[in-house]
Amino acid sequence: MRKLLLLAIATVGLQGCANLGVQPWEREVLARDDMQLDANALDTAFDDHIYFSKEGTSGGRGFGGGGCGCN
């Protein structure tokens, strides 16, 4: 019974792989300006500032590490 259940779960899981990703000709929605990661430049700049300030001790956006994390 348990084996059967596992098999059922695995089969259902495999169906998730039937369609891998979006085809190049189907990127209509993904191509929209408001779907871009940097759709709003000012927003991205703020996010980035917060990120590298918080993560400054481990290098932030770079690899140097040891930053003070205080800017």
Binding site: Q23, P24, W25, E26, R27, E28, A31, R32
Partner: protein
Amino acid sequence: MAHSNVAPANGPLDLSRLHGQVVVVDFWASWCKPCRQSIPWLNELKARYGASGLTIIGVNVDAERRDADRFLRDVPIDFEVLFDPQGNIARQFKVKAMPTSYVIDRNGKLVATHLGFRDAKKAETEAAIKALLDAPVH
């Protein structure tokens, strides 16, 4: 027929009827920004070489026909356009990017695949098409 290595006869895009022509099959969509630049250039190519045996076929892959129609009002197309909302032709051609264009010589052989569109490559591509138009047909 050699065209069958690109698209099957009787399929939605039957290239066998174009044997003896140099064919450019261009996949475009209303949401594809480089297409706004590539299509006017393809119109120019058609105007320049259409009489010498160049056939251009545009395949639109918009899911919604009205998006394609809106684009066509902005950017008119002077060559034949097929509508492929399900992506059947795109799948058959294994389109890897938008836009993608395929160049097929007078003998029905696929000779070039262009992914994307760059202004810098226009002269080179045009020279290649011109050479194909001058090449003999078997």
